[in-house]
Every structure is written in structure tokens, then in C-alpha cells.
């Protein structure tokens, strides 16, 4: 375990909402299990899921798509670099592995070939390192054992492990293998897994007082360790507290207990729990060649020199304490074997691998591991030292034989000695300082001077650096100094005195005993010089070891080394007995003695007894006990040929030959066998590969099955759509053959079911221009552009809008066309009617001079038609409101705006007369009428405009006329009132008054009449005025007024009429128009501007001049002349009385 990572994980403990990452490992049959599991997952939790499924690297995965339909979580295929967040599911992409660092997913490339890949293990290991106790792993259906190693990592870092109940898995290989590690926290059905995870973490978080729990655990730790010590005999009290507390705490969470005291009770009462805790406390990750580069250094620094330096008789001794399930021990053994092979040396190597956990040792002795672990072994060693089994592999016997596994506690049991190499990896890190301080002196004692110590990557020799010098600090390879070994006295008596428990099995004591026997020089000496000579042989007679002087009994003859068989070497007299006794002992396995034998050599004869003692390991110990003194042979003492002896000898010789032949045959067989074995292995690996391919294929198959289901639904939908739609539709393929059509197409193409596949061109169509359609289809298929056209049937009764779309296959190739017909007959009819209506309306508008405008209040724009533009003098048809209002004068602008606003607000109809900007009388006026029209889309104001200039002008004129009229009437009243007043001053009598007033009014009325009676086109002239004045008096009188034409302005008329009236009445009363004889001449002349009117009364009698100034009439005349801007003078002749008016006529 890596301390750094653990602290990282612990540091985040306070965080309640912390993300927990659940790794899900699955293989064949996994899709279903994952689906069932994730269906129960809720996106609101703080869990994120990463699915590692064995996938076919060459096949696109549909997993994400398929899972997304069954879970409310967001599912996506990882592409590397994602930050893992809660509520999401990340799926491994095909052809890659996944790892996690700092909560971010990374893609990894596989280093191993297919079949040896372990993506689940790899991911779990990185997850464990990254997330510590916030990592959970789930192992679901699948064959093989991927995940089991990763699970161990998760557990080591305090994470949670769950496994699908094997009975519910389609393939139970992976779940069973995982369960076999004994480290699984929960075994559940897939749908219960998420609940279990949530419960676990809920508990973990609920205890904000997590610390508090830790504290109670700490308080009870001593007691718990005591219980474990009493039960299994191993004392954990010296182990690192933090590790112990965390692991005990985990158990409390898994068991859902309240606190540590409850757990203590449980441990006391439940031996099974005690066992589980023991195992839990011992969890550590191990694998073959863990940290391969360190192993490489070790090989260079220690293994190679040891092998090189070893003599034939030397034994290289290696001790591996805390070997757990044996991977480390086998790794080192393989390394030694390989080194020896490369150096072509045969060296004897003894490896002692020890551990306190018997269960682990059992796994180690078994020496079979999941196929997946094979990848850890360097390739060169794989074939040499492993034998493939079904889904697993076994370490070959050669390696196995090098190792002795035994239960042994380095702190409690006496250590091994004379060791060349101690490899103790990742054990010290679990020890507290005190235990570490004990362990290192033990290693020092066990190691020979100059021997090597190999530690784990995060372990150091601490303060023992004076006895262990680093050979390679980073690889943790140390060299023991040459100091004298000191027996570690601290091997506590108290502990040794109470070796309780079942850990002290027979195997435990045997190796040390044997070691003592072998390693004592004294014993060696005794054996060599004083003890009877012995042989240790296999039941077949092969010599394993010998002591003492055996020259008398054995004959060393030059020959192949294989002639190492005791019976072959035995001298005559020994051989027969030897063969016989071996056979018997091998059969009966009892100590046997063969007495009174005589061994015959070149030098003499020795009488002896032969004792055969079967040993526990299957070998047989042969002891040659001398019975008599050696009898030397005389030179001349030849012995006769013993026929029997010679016969036996020849038989034996034959037997030996036969054996040799047999041996050769056996060897041949073995070679053949070896070959078969290797081809078998090849087959196995092929099988393995096939199996993983099969798994991947079955995943693909599952995915495809789901896809097919979906496709059938989609297809059914499509079929129903085709059958039910009223839309005529044809699909043609790239050769324009009919692929599919809807029933509604019958009105256009009379297809029958059998027409599918027929070229469209062959089918008769009701269309008028079918060729054009066919041509258009061709074009669409060539250029891939959508085409729209209008087609009608032969009778032109019905019309369709035809849309031809290119039909694209999934990869985007043009692969035909789709024809969709939409009947537009009614729409067309409507369109035509609408067009007519529009034309009619336009005509009406044009004739009436109405312009149409439309205001879009949201955009503030106005639309005008042509006449509107002409009216307003604007070019654009669509323009902002302000621009349209610009030609109006300011008042009108405001009025229009106001009217628009109120129309929009309350719907009041608009009716405004607006004046265009312009000068005075030339300004034109328009009337705007409009109304708000609310359509579902928006409100708008629609209305008409028309020119009202003339009406407006007429109105203005009328108003002016009325004013004038009013003025005149008032004036008239003034005149009359003045007239009456004046008459009143002047008249003598009422009739006189009435007469005066009436005649003057009449005169005025007459002249007024004149203005009205004057024919149009001719101006009222002076002559008219004179005629009118004289009319009442002259009647038929022949009076011809004469002179040039002088117009009389209206304002002059009153004055002129009054003046002429006075003159006339005067003439009528006193002059020629009355009773006096005479005549009247009226004439006028004009000189430049001045008009001179001559009123000449020619009397028959004499005229008596008067001043003419007297009287009202005269005043009136004078005043009238003034009003005319002129003057009046009176002249008298003998018979004439001439009145002359000079004035300038007003001709403006």
C-alpha cells in the first residue's frame, strides 16, 4: 500500500457529499447484469459509475446507447480526460483500457495481446490508488478471473467490494473467482447492489463523527487485538494503528454495528468474524514481479552474483517472510532458475517462504493462479516455468520444488539463518515503529555477512542503516554488513511461552530441524568420519545425497551422469541386496534391514548390514552398518566364477541395457510429451484467446440483440406508418426500382404488392408528365439536391406538390430517392380564388384612390402599397413608422402616433386627417383610417389612406365664406342702423323718414342684386351701376350712358350706389327726372387711372345755381365720394347743372 495515497484519502474524510466512484467489471453476460444494476441507481446520489466491460476492440460499442434507456443516469462512453462527477455512468471504449488519476478518467493502451488483457484489474488498481476508501468495485457476470486482483487492491486501500451472486450470473467465472479471494464485502443480486453501496456509504457519511468512531475503535483496539491474538495466535498490537483502525472500522460499517464496543462483543462471540478480521487485517496486494524494474535491479545486484559465485555443493538460501499467496516467492524462484539457466549452471537453491496466514499459504502451495496473472510474468519465463490449465496456470514443478512454504511469524518464531537473500516486500509498512525495530535485527541475524535484503518500494531500513548499506536505494536493495550476527534477544519469552492456537502445524517445525542437521559442521564431521556411511536415494535408486565413506560399497565408474543410480553403482554383493531392499521399502514403506551381506571390491570384502529407512519426503535413507573388519584381498586369491553370480550379473546387465533403452524411450516419450505439452499450452492460449473473443462476441451479440429489438419496433412503426398514412409516398432505389410505397399512392401509381423491385418507369402512371418526374428523380440521385415540383393528373383535375428527396444510406451515400406527393388541388383552387379576390380589391382601391397601409407595432414598421407611396411621396414600400410620418407636418404626426397607440391599446378605430408638409394652400391632406387586427401571431394595424385635399380645401373656403357673410351681414345691420339714425335726424315726418330709409335700402338692394345678376365672366361695370340707379325713374326713358368700360369693385358699390341714388332722387324730386322739363345726360371718360363721371341735367328752363352743399343728401354724396377715394364738384351752366365725380376705381 502506498502511504501517500492513503493519507490523501483520509484527508478528505470530512467531506459529506464526497463523490464515490463505483467501478463495475463485467464480461460475457454482463450487459444484462449492468442493466439490472443501474436501473436501480438514482442520479441524485453521490455515486458515479465506471463500467469496464470486455469489448471487441474492432467493433463499435453500443453499450452506452443501450444502457442509457434503462437508467436515469447520464451514460456516455469515455473518451479520456473526463472529470468524474456524480450521477454519471462512464463506459470503457473498445480497444482501450481506463485508469483514473485525480478523479479524471484516462484512456490507456493495452500492453498485452488479446486474451491476456485485464482491463478490470487495471482499472480497479488505479481506482484504489486514486480514491482510497471512496472507491467501490462491483464484479458481475463473466468468465475468467479478471477483477479478482483489482478487488484486492480496492480492499487494501479501504474500498468496498461487491460481487454479483454467482447463481444469478449468466457466466459465474468472474464472480466465483472474486468470491474465492475471501475479500468480498457483499454478495448480492444485481438489482440489490446499488442499495448495498449506498447503505455502506450512507453509514460512512452519516457518522460525521467518523473521527469519533475511529476514537472508539482506538480505545477498543487493544481488546480487539487481544481477542485476535487469543484466537489465531498472532499479535497485531505492534502493527500500524491507522491501518488497524481503518480496517476494523470497515468491518463495523459492513456489519452495520453501532460502535467499536458492539464489534468487540461480536468478535468475542463469533469466531468466524474473528477469522474474517484476521484476514482483513492481513490484506495486501501482491503479484508476480510487482515493480518489475526493482526486480530487474535485484537480479543484477544479487541474483546473478549469487548464482555465479555458488559452488556445486553450495546452496543458495533465500527467505521470503510475509509471502502471502506466494507470487513474490515464485517470482524470485523463477528469477534464480532463469539466471542459472542463462549462466548454464546447476545451482541448488532453497527458498523459504513464510507467512502467518495458513489460508494464504494453501493458495501459495497450490501454485495455480488465474490466467490473467500470467501477464505479470516476463515473457521469457512464462513458457519455461508455467503450465497452462483451464483458465488458470500452474507454476512448473521445477520452480515449486525450490520453495518451502511454511507458517512462521518473523516476530515470534526463531528466524532462519545463513540466508543469502531476504525479500520482505510491503510487510514492514504495516508494522508500527516498535515492530519494525524488531524485524530489521532479525533480518540482520538471518542474513550471511554481505548478503542482500530486498524491501518494498516504500520501506526503508530506518535507523538500521549502519548494518544495511544500500546497493540501490530506489530499488530498495540493501547489503548486510559483515558484523557478527546477534541472536535477537527480544524474541519475547512471554510470547514463545504461549504458542497457542493451531498455527503450529507439523510443517512449521520440520524445516528448521532439517536445517540444523545440515548446517552443523560438527554433525558434518561426525557423519563423515564416525557415523556409518549413508545414502539418500529416491525409491528408484537415484542418489540424492551421501555421507561417509562409501568406496567399499559403491563403484564409481566413468559414464554418463545419469548413471547416478545406486544399484548401478553398487559393488557386487551390494547390488542385489540394494535392489531388493529398495523395492521392498518402496512397497511397504517400513524400515527394513538386510543382514549379513558382503560387499566385494577390488581390494577386499566387507561384511555389513544394509538398513533402509523410508523418510517422510518419499526418499529412502540407506545405512551401511559394518559387521566385521575389512578383509583385504590377496593378489592371488582369485575367486572362481560363480555361475550363479555371473548369470545374475548378465541378467542385471541385460536389465540395465533394457533400462537404458527404456530410459531413452521414456526420454523420447517425455520429449514428445513435452512437445505435446507445449502445443497444448499453445492450444490453451489460443483457447484463451478464443474464449475472450467469444466473450466479446457474446457482448456484441447482446448489444446487437437489443439493437435488433429496437429495429423491429422501429420497423413496425414504419410499417404502420406506411399503412396508415394518407400521404402518397414512393421510395425508389438507385436503379429507380420501387423499394417501398404507401397505400395512398394508388391514386397516382396503381402499384400492387408484387411491384416492389420493378423499375418505376415501367409502371403506368396517372400523371400527365410522368417523364419529367422520372427525369427529376434521376437528377436528384445524381446531385443529391432536394427537388420540388408540381404535377397533375391527365385530366388536370388533381394537382400534387411533389417533393423528391435523396435517400441516403447510413454512411451518407446516395442510394435512391423518396417521392412524397402532397395534394394541393384544393389549395390551388383557393389560391386562384384568392388571386381573383385580390385583383378585384386592387381595382376597387385603385379606382377609389385608396391606398392600403399596414403597421407592425412590434417592429415599428409600416407597409405601403404603390398608391400609398405615391400619396406620401415615399419610395420604399416597407419602412419604419417614423420615416412614414416624416412627410406629415408636426401636428399631424403627433395625431397619427396617438391614434395608432390608442388603437393598439384599446382597439379604437383610427380616423385621422393629416396634413402633409407643404406651403400654405398647396399643402395636401390625407385621411388615414385603420383598425387593429389581432391575428394569432401578432397584432397589427391595417387601414387605408386617401387624399382629402379637395374636401379640405372646400371646407376651408366654406368657412371663409361664412366669415365673410357674417361680416357683411353685420355691416349691413350697421349700415341700416346708421341709415335709420341719419334719417331720423333729417326727416320731418314719419312717412318722410320711412320713404328716405326705404328708397336708400332699395338702392342698396338693387346694386346688390346687380352683383348677383351680372352674368358670369363679365365684370360688373360702371354702366350697370348707373342703369340700376336710374331704372326706377327713367322707365322707358331713352338714356344712353356712354363711356369706356370701368369695372366696379364690390366695396365701391355701396358708395357708388348711394351717390347715384342721391343724384337720381334729387333729379326726380327737383330736376329733369321729375316735373321739370329737360333731360339728363350721363357719361364718363377715363384718363389714365382717373375716371371722370359727368352727371349733366339739362333743363329747358334756366338753371339757378345753388351752393348744393346744404342738406343731408349733399353730405352723403360728399362722404361717398371720399369713400371712393375721389371728389365731387358741381358746375352750373345756363341750362345745365353738372355734377362731376372724379375717382380712381379700385381695380385690385
Amino acid at each position: 500500500m502506498d502511504d501517500k495515497h492513503r493519507q490523501h484519502a483520509e484527508g478528505a474524510e470530512g467531506d459529506k457529499e464526497r463523490l464515490c466512484i463505483v467501478g463495475i467489471g463485467a464480461s460475457a453476460g454482463g450487459l444484462e447484469a449492468i442493466r439490472e444494476m443501474l436501473t436501480e441507481a438514482r442520479s441524485a446520489s453521490n455515486l458515479a459509475y465506471v463500467v469496464i466491460q470486455h469489448l471487441d476492440p474492432n467493433h463499435e460499442s453500443l453499450l452506452a446507447e443501450l444502457l442509457a434507456r434503462h437508467t436515469e443516469l447520464r451514460v456516455r462512453q469515455a473518451s479520456g480526460g473526463e472529470k468524474i462527477t456524480a450521477g454519471n455512468v462512464y463506459i470503457i471504449p473498445p480497444g482501450h483500457g481506463l485508469s483514473v488519476t485525480g478523479g479524471v478518467l484516462n484512456l490507456t493502451e493495452f500492453a498485452q495481446p488479446r486474451g491476456l488483457r485485464r482491463p478490470i484489474d487495471d482499472f480497479f488498481e488505479s481506482l484504489a490508488l486514486d480514491q482510497g476508501r471512496f472507491a467501490a468495485c462491483v464484479i458481475l457476470s463473466g468468465t475468467g478471473a479478471d477483477g479478482s486482483a483489482g478487488l484486492r487492491a480496492i480492499k487494501e486501500h479501504g474500498g468496498l467490494c461487491l460481487v454479483q451472486e454467482p447463481a444469478t450470473a449468466k457466466y459465474d467465472g468472474m464472480p466465483t473467482s472474486a468470491q474465492g479471494t475471501g475479500l468480498v464485502d457483499f454478495v448480492r443480486r444485481p438489482e440489490e447492489i446499488v442499495a448495498a453501496i449506498e447503505q455502506f456509504y450512507a453509514l460512512a457519511f452519516e457518522r460525521t463523527a467518523d473521527r469519533q468512531l475511529a476514537n472508539t475503535v482506538e480505545a477498543h483496539l487493544e481488546d480487539i487485538c487481544g481477542v485476535v491474538r487469543n484466537f489465531v495466535g498472532h499479535d497485531f498490537s505492534g502493527y500500524k494503528k491507522s491501518t488497524l483502525i481503518r480496517r476494523v472500522q470497515r468491518r463495523i460499517q459492513v456489519l452495520d454495528l453501532a460502535d467499536a464496543s458492539a464489534y468487540l462483543k461480536r468478535v468475542r462471540s463469533d469466531s468466524k468474524e474473528c477469522e474474517i478480521l484476521f484476514r482483513e487485517l492481513l490484506i495486501n496486494v501482491t503479484r508476480f514481479f510487482r515493480d518489475p524494474e526493482h526486480f530487474e535491479r535485484l537480479r543484477e545486484l544479487a541474483v546473478a552474483p549469487l548464482v555465479r559465485g555458488a559452488g556445486n555443493e553450495d546452496e543458495i538460501r533465500v527467505w521470503i517472510p510475509g509471502c502471502s499467496s506466494g507470487e513474490e516467492a515464485y517470482s524470485i524462484a523463477m528469477m534464480f532458475a532463469d539466471e542459472a539457466r542463462q549462466q548454464k549452471r546447476s545451482t541448488r537453491i532453497q527458498i523459504f517462504a513464510t507467512d502467518i496466514d495458513e489460508q494464504m499459504l494453501r493458495i501459495a502451495r497450490e501454485a495455480t493462479y488465474p490466467q490473467s496473472a500470467l501477464a505479470d510474468i516476463p515473457e521469457g519465463m512464462r513458457d519455461l516455468y508455467t503450465i497452462a490449465l483451464d483458465g488458470r496456470f500452474r507454476i512448473s514443478a521445477r520452480i515449486r520444488d525450490m520453495i518451502r512454504f511454511s507458517v512462521h511469524s518473523i516476530v515470534r518464531d526463531p528466524p532462519f539463518s545463513n540466508i543469502d537473500l531476504v525479500s520482505c516486500r510491503n510487510l514492514l509498512i504495516y508494522f508500527g515503529d516498535q515492530l519494525q525495530a524488531i524485524a530489521l535485527p532479525i533480518f540482520h541475524y538471518a542474513l550471511k555477512p554481505g548478503a542482500t535484503l530486498f524491501l518494498g518500494p516504500s520501506e526503508t531500513v530506518g535507523r538500521h542503516d549502519h548494518v544495511f548499506a544500500p546497493l540501490d536505494q530506489s530499488a530498495r536493495v540493501f547489503r548486510r554488513n559483515n558484523g557478527r550476527p546477534e541472536y535477537p534477544l527480544h524474541l519475547r519469552a512471554a510470547q514463545r511461552g504461549a504458542p497457542q492456537g493451531r498455527r503450529h502445524a507439523a510443517e512449521d517445525s520440520e524445516p528448521p530441524a532439517r536445517l540444523d542437521w545440515q548446517d552443523s559442521d560438527v554433525a558434518e564431521r561426525i557423519l563423515a568420519a564416525y557415523a556409518p556411511p549413508t545414502l539418500r536415494v529416491t525409491p528408484r535408486g537415484e542418489i540424492l545425497r551421501s555421507t561417509g565413506r562409501l568406496g567399499k560399497y559403491l563403484e564409481v565408474s566413468p559414464g554418463p551422469e545419469s548413471e547416478n543410480f545406486a544399484p548401478s553403482l553398487a559393488r557386487s554383493g551390494v547390488r542385489e541386496a540394494l535392489s531388493a531392499i529398495l523395492r521392498q521399502v518402496a512397497r511397504g514403506n517400513k524400515r527394513t534391514i538386510s543382514r549379513d551381506l558382503r560387499a566385494q571390491s577390488e581390494f577386499g570384502v566387507q561384511a555389513f548390514d544394509l538398513i533402509a529407512d523410508p523418510l517422510d519426503d518419499g526418499s529412502i535413507l540407506l545405512v551401511f552398518r559394518e559387521r566385521d573388519r575389512f578383509e583385504p584381498l590377496e593378489d592371488d586369491a582369485y575367486e572362481d566364477l560363480d555361475p550363479t553370480d555371473s548369470h545374475v550379473q548378465s541378467l542385471e546387465h541385460e536389465l540395465r541395457d533394457t533400462r537404458a533403452r527404456l530410459h531413452t524411450t521414456v526420454e523420447e516419450l517425455e520429449t514428445a510429451n513435452e512437445e505435446l505439452k507445449s502445443s497444448n499450452e499453445e492450444m490453451m492460449s489460443m483457447n484463451e484467446e478464443l474464449q475472450s473473443t467469444n466473450e466479446e462476441l457474446s457482448t456484441v451479440n447482446d448489444e446487437l440483440k437489443s439493437k435488433v429489438d429496437e429495429l423491429s419496433v422501429a420497423n413496425a412503426d414504419l410499417t404502420n406508418f406506411f399503412a396508415s398514412t394518407a400521404l402518397p409516398l414512393v421510395v425508389v432505389d438507385s436503379k429507380m426500382a420501387i423499394r417501398n410505397f404507401t397505400d395512398a399512392i394508388q391514386s397516382i401509381y396503381p402499384f400492387r404488392g408484387t411491384d416492389r423491385g420493378r423499375p418505376l418507369a415501367e409502371v403506368t402512371s396517372s400523371l400527365r408528365r410522368n417523364e419529367e418526374v422520372l427525369q427529376a428523380i434521376g437528377e436528384v440521385m445524381r446531385n443529391g439536391e432536394l427537388r420540388q415540383m408540381r404535377v397533375s393528373d391527365r385530366a388536370e383535375d388533381r394537382t400534387w406538390s411533389l417533393v423528391i428527396t435523396p435517400y441516403r444510406s447510413r454512411d451518407g451515400d446516395l442510394n435512391g430517392a423518396t417521392l412524397v406527393f402532397t395534394e394541393v388541388t384544393d389549395a390551388l383552387r383557393l389560391e386562384t380564388a384568392l388571386k381573383h379576390e385580390g385583383e378585384r380589391l386592387r381595382l376597387a382601391l385603385d379606382v377609389s384612390g385608396l391606398a392600403v397601409w399596414e403597421c407592425d407595432p412590434r417592429r415599428g414598421t409600416v407597409m405601403l402599397d404603390d398608391s400609398g407611396c405615391a400619396l406620401l411621396g415615399i419610395d420604399e414600400h416597407r419602412l419604419p413608422l417614423d420615416r412614414m410620418l416624416a412627410p406629415l407636418n408636426e401636428d399631424s404626426r403627433d395625431a397619427v402616433r396617438h391614434a395608432l397607440d390608442s388603437s393598439l391599446e384599446s382597439g379604437t378605430p383610427i380616423d385621422v386627417v393629416a396634413r402633409l408638409n407643404g406651403l400654405g394652400a398647396h399643402a395636401r391632406s390625407i385621411q388615414m383610417v385603420g383598425r387593429r387586427i389581432a391575428t394569432p401571431q401578432a397584432e397589427r394595424v391595417l387601414g387605408v389612406l386617401f387624399d382629402v385635399t379637395e374636401e379640405q380645401d372646400a371646407k376651408d373656403v366654406r368657412e371663409m365664406m361664412l366669415r365673410e357673410m357674417n361680416h357683411r351681414v353685420k355691416n349691413m345691420f350697421s349700415i341700416i342702423s346708421g341709415m335709420v339714425r341719419m334719417a331720423g335726424r333729417q326727416a320731418d315726418s314719419v312717412p318722410d323718414l320711412v320713404d328716405g330709409v326705404q328708397t336708400r335700402i332699395n338702392a342698396l338692394a338693387r346694386s346688390h342684386d346687380l352683383t348677383q345678376k351680372t352674368p358670369r365672366g363679365r365684370k360688373f361695370g360702371l354702366e350697370d351701376a348707373i342703369r340700376a340707379s336710374l331704372e326706377p325713374y327713367c322707365g322707358d326713358m331713352d338714356l344712353i350712358p356712354g363711356g369706356p368700360e370701368v369695372p366696379v369693385a364690390t366695396q365701391e358699390l355701396t358708395s357708388l350706389s348711394l351717390l347715384l341714388h342721391e343724384w337720381s332722387t334729387n333729379a326726380a324730386k327737383y330736376g329733369v327726372l321729375g316735373h321739370k322739363p329737360g333731360r339728363l345726360e350721363v357719361g364718363w371718360t377715363r384718363e389714365g387711372e382717373i375716371v371722370e363721371l359727368l352727371w349733366n341735367e339739362i333743363h329747358d328752363g334756366r338753371v339757378k345755381p345753388d351752393d348744393g352743399a346744404a342738406g343731408f343728401g349733399s353730405t352723403l354724396v360728399q362722404l361717398s365720394a371720399v369713400q371712393l377715394g375721389g371728389s365731387v364738384s358741381v358746375e352750373f351752366g345756363e341750362h345745365e347743372r353738372r355734377m362731376i365725380l372724379r375717382y380712381v376705381p379700385d381695380e385690385r
Partner: protein, 130 residues
């Protein structure tokens, strides 16, 4: 040419009459003289009235709004500036304009009532700054 009749006394106030209707002008002249004023005019048009102002200076002016040769306002302005009290004969048509331009001016409705005219002249007399 003056139609002024009667003796002239320096003490008598002088009223300028502008009126283009002969009868009315004559009637006014008589009324004004009866009230004891001297009359300048009557003048039928602006031309004549302006010409008269060259030599005469009235105390009060009795003005018709529409004269022969246009509206009386240029003349009224001149008279106001000279400090002459103004009395308009109005036919309601120009009332607003008159009130706006000559707030102090008196007004007599057409047709004239002698009493109304008299009081209008009297109040104009008191306003006259001459």
C-alpha cells in the same frame, strides 16, 4: 378734405374715425360729434388714414377692422404706439385677435349703439396718453 363741421376748440378731444361704409361713417361722425368730440376723418382706407396722420394727431381712434384697402391692424399698431386710445367696431369676427393684440382697446359691437359708443370713447379717452 375734411368733413369736419362745427367750431374747433383746443379743449375738445379729437377722434379719428376709420370706416369704409359711407352710411356708417356718416352716422359715426354725427354721433361722435354729438358726444362732443372733434372728428378726424372718416377715412375709408388705410392709405387715407396714414396720410392724415402726417399732419394730425388724434386722441382717440374709432376703427373698423376691415377697411377698403385691408385690415386696420397696421394702423392700429401705429396709433397704439403713438399712445392713442383705441376703440374697435367689431362684428365678433376678429374679437379674439383684437383682444390678444390690444388688450387695453375698447370694443363696440356692430351695429353701434350710441350709449355703448359713448362709454367706450370715454374709457378710451381716460386711457389716452396724449
Amino acid at each position: 378734405m375734411s368733413l369736419t363741421s362745427g367750431k374747433k376748440t383746443t379743449a375738445r378731444q379729437r377722434v379719428m374715425i376709420c370706416e369704409d361704409e359711407v352710411i356708417v361713417a356718416m352716422d359715426l361722425q354725427m354721433l361722435v360729434e354729438e358726444f362732443g368730440y372733434d372728428v378726424i376723418g372718416p377715412f375709408p382706407g388705410l392709405r387715407e388714414a396714414f396720410a392724415a396722420l402726417g399732419s394730425e394727431r388724434p386722441d382717440i381712434a374709432l376703427l373698423d377692422v376691415r377697411l377698403k384697402d385691408g385690415e386696420v391692424f397696421p394702423l392700429a399698431d401705429r396709433l397704439r404706439d403713438m399712445g392713442v386710445g383705441l376703440v374697435f367696431q367689431s362684428g365678433h369676427v376678429y374679437d379674439d385677435e383684437i383682444h390678444a393684440k390690444y388688450p387695453k382697446a375698447g370694443c363696440c359691437l356692430k351695429p353701434i349703439s350710441p350709449a355703448g359708443l359713448r362709454s367706450a370713447l370715454q374709457s378710451a379717452e381716460s386711457l389716452s396718453t396724449a
